[in-house]
């Protein structure tokens, strides 16, 4: 085959023979800049059989540099090589900016674009919610259209499998709440009110909120990833052109599953939270379980539990909708699926807490007072 290149220098003439490879082009560019310091250079390529592309680019660059200080004459270059070099000459400038790290200005432009996107997202989320509510309405009118097996699958994934983690964390938090409030109340000799505090905090806030945050973390990301991946692989498009109601197929089973499991998860969370309080009461405040229970019985209303379950229902709507919506926004490739899962969790948790604040405000106004 072709012999490997050789580069020789005689006076101001640099001769290249054979096939010039990129790996050894360094010697050539070095020789070129060395001779160029002494005056005009001639590059003789008549014995050169060809160049690897990277070598051609490197030689082009070296000659261009040398021409800044002196004259360079190229002899015997093939017409093909000259064509390539001519193209390099035309494009070199424009290529400088392709894929450069973004400058500050474009970062600012990026912020502007992000704000616009944020608005887009809100509008999109609202219209998506409306569509899924409509689909929900259709499902309620024709219950046969519900994909029951899918709904059951998601109930298991999002609900049953979340029970252990929710139980453990709520039990821990109930313990901490009991300990913290007991510690404060002890100073006033008012430990007897510890069950009140734990009971209210767990059933009003911690139970529903913790259940929702965990479900958001586990399931809204999973929903987003599932739908996002299906979009990337054009499965969603395929469903659509086959005439499927995409909402019915992809959104409703998840939505229904969460709506059914969330209130139950809230009750479970309440139970373990209160249990935590009971145990710490016995250990830290020497409060017998019977006292803890009768105190709870005295101050808590069934409404406290129902209200928490209602919260769970609202959170379920938020989590499922946000997860599915974020999934449907995936347009590009696999990396966007990853981004979508993060976005889904952050957005869902954010909206859950906002909703929680609103619902709690209402509750303190409407809850009948308790006679001590």
């Amino acid at each position: 085959m072709t012999t490997d290149e050789s580069i020789s220098v005689e006076g101001s003439v640099l001769t290249v023979r054979g096939l010039l490879r990129a790996a050894s082009v360094g010697a050539l560019t070095e020789a070129l800049s060395r001779i160029a310091r002494g005056g005009g250079v001639v590059v003789d390529l008549s014995a050169c059989d060809g160049m690897e592309t990277a070598a051609a680019a490197a030689v082009f660059d070296a000659i261009r540099r040398a021409r800044n200080t002196t004259s360079v004459e190229v002899r015997g270059a093939s017409s093909e090589l000259l064509q390539v070099w001519e193209m390099f000459g035309l494009r070199a400038k424009a290529l400088e900016s392709v894929g450069r790290p973004r400058s500050l200005r474009t970062h600012f432009e990026g912020v502007g674009a992000d704000v616009l996107t944020a608005w887009d997202v809100v509008a999109g989320l609202l219209s998506f919610s409306r569509q899924s509510l409509e689909a929900m309405g259709r499902t309620l009118r024709y219950p046969a259209s519900l994909r029951l097996s899918l709904a059951l699958y998601y109930m298991e994934q999002a609900g049953v499998k979340a029970v252990p983690i929710i139980g453990v964390l709520c039990w821990l938090l109930g313990t901490v709440l009991g300990y913290q409030s007991g510690y404060q109340l002890k100073t006033f000799g008012a430990e007897i009110f510890m069950p009140d505090l734990v009971g209210y905090m767990v059933t009003w806030e911690i139970g529903p909120l913790l259940a929702a945050i965990l479900v958001a973390g586990r399931s809204s990301s999973a929903f987003a990833a599932e739908i996002g991946t299906m979009k990337v692989r054009q499965e969603v498009d395929a469903l659509e052109v086959m005439g499927f109601d995409v909402f019915q197929f992809l959104v409703i089973p998840k939505l229904i599953a969460l709506i059914l499991v969330m209130p139950v998860l809230v009750l479970i969370a309440d139970f373990f939270g209160l249990l935590g309080g009971l145990l710490i009461g016995g250990w830290y405040l020497d409060m017998p379980a019977s006292v803890y229970m009768s105190r709870l019985h005295l101050v808590m209303l069934p409404l406290d539990f129902y209200w928490g379950m209602l919260k769970g229902l609202v959170f379920a709507l938020i989590i499922a909708t946000v997860g599915c919506f974020t999934g449907t926004r995936v347009r590009g490739g696999a990396s966007e699926v990853g981004e979508a899962t993060t976005t889904a969790v952050v957005t869902a948790v954010f909206l859950v807490i906002v909703a929680d604040a609103l619902i709690s405000l209402v509750y303190v106004r409407i809850r009948p007072g308790v006679i001590m």
């Binding site: 085959m1 072709t2 490879r21 990129a22 790996a23 082009v25 360094g26 060809g50 690897e52 592309t53 990277a54 051609a56 680019a57 490197a58 082009f60 660059d61 390539v84 193209m87 390099f88 494009r91 070199a92 290529l95 400088e96 392709v98 894929g99 347009r331 590009g332 490739g333 696999a334 990396s335 966007e336």
Partner: protein, 257 residues
């Protein structure tokens, strides 16, 4: 030339997925500078064979030799040095979505060539220009069509001016004109740079235009059922080969032959 030591040799290769075998008793050689085309009906294991040839998976049995040494020997050193001299074009293009086309093509260059960024950019651009994507250097893979992604993948496979290039269905999804241009490109690269090519394709016109030698796989025998020049295979007595090269449904080939 024909007696040259093979640049790549597959010896008694056997492989598959999980417990299901896809290939067995595969042996053939690739001579330096030749264009070897691997054909076969969809699902017969062409992509799988290619994965073994480029060292993406380890065969169940048998070996793949690059310039006489087993690519899996010497704790991966043979493979990693061989990889610098190979280019691979995957079936889907496999570009990195977060990078522009120019950056995608620059990727292998900047990893394996010690040259300034400006030079790398020019070299990468030249490759994009070769595949007709000069005007899309700054585009991202998702902003161009599937056929264009494939061409960009080709540009990346060629970035290092490799000694050997593997293609998995390079012309699938391309229009006939672009496909013919691609064939021409492959031939001209093969002639001018002496690049050895291993190409998986279904396209009869491509096979006729570019192949020096053809290997045909079939799933019924999980292996090679014929090899040789296209003219020989067209006259082959095996019905499966005949059906393929004459574009007949397999049933009909029975009647003709």
């Amino acid at each position: 030339m024909s007696d040259a030591i093979p640049i790549l040799e597959v010896r008694d290769l056997e492989g598959g997925y999980g417990s299901s075998r896809v290939l067995r008793d595969i042996s053939f050689t690739v001579a330096p500078g030749e264009i070897l085309v691997i054909v076969g009906r969809s699902g017969c294991g062409k992509s799988t064979l290619l994965r073994y040839m480029v060292g993406l998976s380890r065969p169940w049995a048998g070996s793949v030799l690059f310039e006489g040494s087993d690519i899996w020997s010497d704790s991966g050193r043979v493979l990693s040095s061989a990889r610098r001299r190979w280019g691979v074009l995957f079936q889907s293009g496999a570009l990195l979505a977060s990078l522009t086309l120019l950056e995608n093509v620059m990727l292998p260059l900047s990893e394996f060539r010690d040259l300034s960024p400006a030079v790398l950019r020019l070299a990468a651009f030249r490759k994009l220009d070769m595949v007709g994507l000069a005007d899309f250097a700054a585009s991202y893979p998702l902003e161009i069509s599937g056929g264009m992604q494939k061409r960009a993948g080709l540009a990346r496979a060629l970035a290092l001016d490799p000694d050997m290039v593997f293609f998995d269905e390079p012309s699938a999804g391309l229009d006939p004109v672009t496909s013919a241009e691609l064939d021409q490109l492959v031939c001209s690269i093969n002639r001018t740079l002496g690049t050895t090519m291993v190409i998986v394709t279904h396209e009869l016109p491509s096979i006729l235009a570019i192949s020096d030698r053809v290997i045909m796989l079939d799933s019924s025998s999980q292996g090679i059922i014929a090899q040789g020049r296209v003219e020989q295979l067209k006259e082959h007595s095996d019905l499966r080969v005949h059906a393929f090269f004459h574009r007949l449904p397999q049933g009909q080939a029975n009647d003709v032959a």
